[in-house]
């Protein structure tokens, strides 16, 4: 019986059941040799110390398995698999089970391990097609959740600065703690590294939608790039057409000339399953007239003022529901 064994130690015969009990996932699939081999294959691919094939699997088997392997998916649907988040798990993680995340403010949205060197949100691949958009620029990330993607963007693309905003105080706090951890780990004094990662990243708690449209009068250009990734649905459901339109206008006003909005809107058919979250959301859902198909036209209209829209790309290798186009709106 081949039991998945991350340690690569030889398991003595009398301990095999013991180990199987501890890793209950393994227990479920222990009769499926194919599945086991596939998991090992994944383990090999994602672990950084993957040197040489697993002694139990030949090279030919490796290639065949790679072709058969279903696309990467996990409870955190955009990051690549690691050993632990296995498709065999039939229970969703308990931390998300009973709570209403009415702002899309999910805990552990990016996975449980923070600052994981294996973290790779597939949207990064799309963003990486135009790295010069970000290098040396001042960024705002609206709805940054726990900040994992924001931090990755700030580091990978060598931004001048990044501010992440989230409506959930707990998530913002987590993000700021991650920054503090990075600072402590970096062994450089704050004075010397003032403009450099991670000293150029900060997280703010708040609602991007303002209490009243008139406050837009005093909004000022202050960012080169604004990221709004998979957030429009939540603004729309919680703050209605008016709130979303105001947010779009605010984004334009906060951009400097030549600045760009990178938008990843959710499609309307994904709203329906969230309409039961709260009474307020249900009412708002029923009152929506401004549909995602109309977003581009609105953003390009004089009411907002973007000059052009360009399709940046669409992430591959993910579940269909997350295949959302990423658009770039440019301000003259």
């Amino acid at each position: 019986m081949e039991v998945e064994n991350n340690n690569n130690t030889i398991v003595p015969e009398n301990k095999k059941e013991h180990f199987a009990y501890k890793r209950s996932a393994s227990v479920e699939i222990e009769d499926n040799a194919e599945k086991i081999k596939r998991l090992k294959q994944n383990g090999l691919e994602t672990s950084s110390a993957a040197q040489g094939a697993d002694p139990h699997v030949t090279e030919g088997t490796n290639k065949k398995l790679a072709a058969q392997r279903p696309p990467a998916q996990s409870p955190k649907k955009r990051i690549q698999l690691d050993n632990k988040n296995v498709a065999g798990l039939d229970k969703k993680p308990k931390h998300n089970k009973h709570e209403t995340f009415m702002f899309g403010n999910y805990r552990h949205y990016y996975g449980k391990r923070i600052l994981d060197k294996d973290f790779h949100d597939i949207r990064l691949d799309v963003l990486a097609t135009q790295p010069e958009l970000f290098r040396g620029k001042q960024l705002l990330d609206i709805g940054c959740n726990s900040g994992h993607l924001s931090l990755e963007i700030a580091k990978k693309f060598e931004v001048k600065s990044l501010v992440g905003l989230d409506i959930d105080r707990f998530l913002t706090h987590e993000a700021q703690m991650a920054v503090n951890l990075l600072k402590r780990a970096s062994n450089v004094s704050a004075a010397n590294a003032a403009g450099r990662f991670p000293y150029n990243v900060k997280f703010v708690h708040g609602n991007y939608v303002l209490a009243d449209d008139v406050l837009l009068e005093i909004e000022r250009p202050q960012y080169d790039i604004i990221l709004c990734l998979s957030v429009t649905k939540w603004i729309h459901l919680n703050f209605c057409d008016a709130g979303l339109k105001q947010a779009f206008r605010r984004m334009y006003l906060q951009l400097r000339p030549g600045g760009k909005l990178i938008l990843e809107p959710q499609s309307f058919d994904t709203y329906k399953r969230r309409k039961k979250l709260t009474d307020n959301i249900r009412e708002n859902y029923n009152a929506i007239h401004f549909k995602p198909e109309q977003f581009t036209a609105y953003l390009l209209s004089p009411e907002v003022g973007f000059a052009s829209m360009e399709l940046m790309g669409m992430p591959e290798h993910c579940k269909a529901g997350f295949k959302r186009p990423i658009q770039i709106f440019s301000k003259v």
């Binding site: 708690h205 303002l210 209490a211 008139v214 005093i218 000022r220």
Partner: protein, 314 residues
């Protein structure tokens, strides 16, 4: 490090600005005020108090919001801070409370272009105010402000012909004086000495004990300085008060510098004026002082229950 105590909690208990205003809500409501506000990422509004235009729009807005007063300031003139003006008026209310007066008459010495003390006193308490002012532009603005707020029946702006006199010109020439006389006079004198080498230079603040004020200085030299500064100015009020002992029940004046308080107290003692009291006005990082004296028998001690508990803290 010595802890800075924020004296905001020592504002007069009835001061409406004791709790900080919600500037975001006020920015949404008042268009002109909004223009001097800064919008933060989290949707809250913040103010840079170290800017004259901000201070002017702020005071204008607060006067409108809390008192329904529409006030314009002459450009370059002193922008009064509302919290301090209110603290002064509230102290006067406390001094007069035991007298249980039906109608109150007061004198505002040097009302400025805003005429703010008289407007507040009239609007809030329906007091009859005589506003004395010597600078022509200020007189015009003050009269406009009184008219704009429909308070001409309560506030009279009198043009002082001679800067060196306080009451003299008015008392000698006025056709009609209130029967019962005036119950008080108030004054916000020019703090600084125009004869000094560096009128604004003397920094009597200990930065470790008290942080610098979070504002910027406003006002013309004429409003801020005079020969001999506030000490000499208040001494003149004292001298003139002796000539008009029965005309005004309680004479008061504010002082901007703590060290000047004992100087005035000594001066009063020298003139053998014994019915004297002092107070402090606390607002944010700034403290001011005031002196009251009277030639009548009434008590100038404010009932502690009515006023700030810190009032007589040594």
């Amino acid at each position: 490090m010595v802890k800075h105590s924020n004296k905001k909690s020592a504002m007069h208990p009835r001061n409406v600005l004791r709790t900080a205003p919600d500037y975001t809500k006020l920015a949404i409501k008042h268009r002109d005020f909004r223009q001097v506000c800064e919008l933060e990422l989290n949707g809250r509004v913040s103010l840079n108090f170290r800017n004259e235009r901000t201070l002017r729009e702020l005071t204008k807005m607060l006067l409108l919001e809390y008192f329904g007063l529409h006030v314009e300031f002459a450009p370059g003139s002193l922008v009064p801070t509302l919290a301090l003006r209110l603290n002064y008026i509230l102290w006067l209310e406390d001094l007069l409370a035991p007298l249980k007066l039906d109608a109150v008459h007061g004198i505002d010495i040097g009302c400025g272009s805003s005429c703010i003390y008289s407007l507040l006193a009239a609007k809030k308490n329906q007091w009859h105010m005589l506003a004395l002012e010597s600078k022509q532009t200020n007189i015009e603005y003050a009269r406009e402000n009184v008219k704009r707020n429909n308070l001409e029946h309560l506030v009279e702006v009198y043009a002082q012909p001679d800067k060196n006199n306080i009451f003299k010109s008015y008392f000698e020439t006025a056709s009609r004086l209130p029967k019962e006389g005036f119950h008080f006079c108030l004054c916000n004198p020019p703090f600084f000495d125009s004869n000094a080498e560096n009128p604004f230079g003397g920094n009597t603040r200990n930065p470790q004990r008290r942080p610098a004020p979070n504002n910027v200085r406003t006002g013309s030299a004429e409003e801020l300085t005079c020969a001999g500064g506030e000490v000499q100015f208040v001494q003149r009020i004292v001298e003139e008060s002796e000539l008009h002992q029965e005309r005004v029940l309680i004479f008061t004046s504010m002082l901007g510098v703590k060290a000047n308080v004992p100087k005035i107290l000594d001066y009063l003692q020298k003139r053998q004026i014994s019915n004297v009291s002092t107070t402090e006005f606390h607002q944010g990082h700034t403290t001011r002082w005031a002196v009251a004296w009277s030639f009548q028998q009434l008590s100038l001690k404010v009932d502690a229950a009515l006023s700030s508990p810190d009032l007589y803290r040594t």
